[in-house]
Symmetry: C2
Subunit: 313 residues, 2 copies
């Protein structure tokens, strides 16, 4: 048996996992992300933690099939991050090569964190059993990962699946963080749903439990929907219209078998899909509208599963 390490580098912590070569999780742990000095210590810290774990478990280099790493930025198929990683303090660097220097003799695979999470959901989560999967992460922003024929799609500059910034509304006047306006992220992220709710509440005085919500966030909206709140339902419908339309466009381009919806917003559960699927079916080109929908299952572990899976694929 060989071992595989999965490393999901986030802005606050690095999630790490030790797997066997059937992509079964043996142990997981976290180390803090040290962003001081432009994040220079992160890679040595990660590799040091892997070496420690190998020592602790008596695992030799020959026993390691490889290390997979995911990072929050575009990563091309050679491991280069041409735009660095803003949330880690990194400028442009080659993640794969830097890890190879720290872990000589061990195979390193590197990819974007949203993409590896998508891959994790395909091998062990909501997309298990499928080879053509689009994973959509509805968190603070909207991210995505595309797997075609069982392989992660990186794109020519590592930015494939960056679906949060697809333009879905030409009339939008408020700016997205990216500087454009009308991006999917402005309607379908946690932040976007809260924004839609604020705008809806300001429109008139219609009674709604959302008016007395402690925090007007995506969770409050979907909780109110489940209790039959009409205003919250209007907000959810608007969210579903944008996301369903956006996913229909993606289906027309890459024609996946299944969409796997994850991220904090997906904790609302199946009710979420009830607002997205009808709009998807109404908008997608007929040969593409048979795509299935599922919720993500691995939560924060999707990244380490995907990293390990990349090494083994």
């Amino acid at each position: 048996m060989k071992y595989v390490f999965g490393v999901d580098i986030g802005g606050t912590t690095v999630k790490m996992g030790l797997f066997n070569d059937a992509t079964e999780l043996i142990e997981k742990w976290e180390i803090p992300t040290d962003k001081t000095d432009s994040g220079k210590k992160i890679i040595p810290d990660v590799c040091g933690s892997i070496k420690n774990k190998m020592g602790e478990k008596g695992i030799s280099e020959e026993d390691v099939a490889g290390v997979g790493a995911g990072a929050p930025g575009a990563v091309d198929d050679k491991g280069m991050m041409p735009g660095g990683a803003v949330n880690l303090g990194w400028g442009p660097l080659n993640l794969k090569e830097l890890m190879e220097k720290e872990l000589p003799g061990i195979k390193i695979v590197a990819a974007n964190d949203a993409n590896v999470a998508a891959f994790g959901e395909m091998i062990a989560g909501g997309g298990k059993g499928y080879e053509n999967v689009v994973a959509v992460t509805l968190g603070t922003g909207v991210g995505g990962g595309i797997i075609l024929g069982g392989k992660l799609l990186a794109g020519s500059t590592g930015a494939a699946g960056e679906i949060g910034h697809m333009k879905v509304d030409d009339e939008e006047t408020e700016k997205c963080n990216c500087g454009h306006a009308g991006c999917l992220e402005q309607y379908a992220s946690a932040t976007g749903i809260a924004r839609l709710a604020r705008k809806r509440l300001a429109k008139d005085d219609k009674a709604s439990s959302l008016r007395s919500a402690e925090t007007l966030d995506a969770k409050a909206v979907f909780d109110a929907v489940k209790e039959g709140d009409e205003v919250a339902t209007e907000v959810a419908k608007e969210f579903g219209r944008y996301l369903g339309k956006g996913l229909a466009t993606i289906a027309d381009v890459v024609n996946p078998e299944i969409f796997v919806i994850g991220g904090g917003v997906s904790k609302a559960g199946d009710v979420l899909l009830e607002f997205v699927e009808p709009e998807f079916v109404n908008t997608a080109f007929p040969p593409c509208k048979g795509a299935k929908f599922a919720l993500a299952k691995l939560g924060n572990d999707a990244g380490i599963y995907g990293c390990a899976g990349m090494v083994l694929s």
Copy 2:
């Protein structure tokens, strides 16, 4: 040296090509498409023509690396056409298997015609030298083909790259042929450009050479643009806004290196790109906006080149 046949099955004629194994065209010819009796004779006719050519040239089965076939309908990666091909009179059939029966012992590869044309442009046309190519065909409709990592993307039901029916306008009231409204095809196809021109001319009485055009088609619009006609320029700008926005969305999803624009509309030449590229750059997510643009080069031969290329790839 081995030989390869490329077969591009169209609604009126079947374009056929004999290539060497460096994908160099040795000879090309056409046979009529016999659509009588639900198009049952098309496959025997095509295979008969291949056998005749083999006899004429003294080519044995062992000398043939394979036959690639493109057909106007969705084709999955097993050669199945679940929706048949309306323009050929075909119901659901397996193109690859039917050709294998007629040409025993010869490798057959089958794909959608727009996809193989895209592949042809990658190996020998406007996308030569690139591995991540989105080819866009602006003809009567809008078609597309996506090549990632040098491989054609079929999609789970053979409908990847069906970009003509991406929704690009929520306000559209006129229906597209597909039954939806606001499809890219309604603005960026030859038919779509003529429609935009008719609508613009009806709006007011502003002088324009288009008012006296013999045929108000895409060619007339771009000819007038080249002569500085203001109304035609407005129409071209509207076309460019829709197509540029649509291609930006595609770039956000698959992050290609280059877009190759073909089809009848592309005969307008480089002036076309002047209306599309600025809108693309304004709309695409920054890491995706570096994609290049080129015009298709192979014209009607793109399909046979792509068919031959598929066999050899």
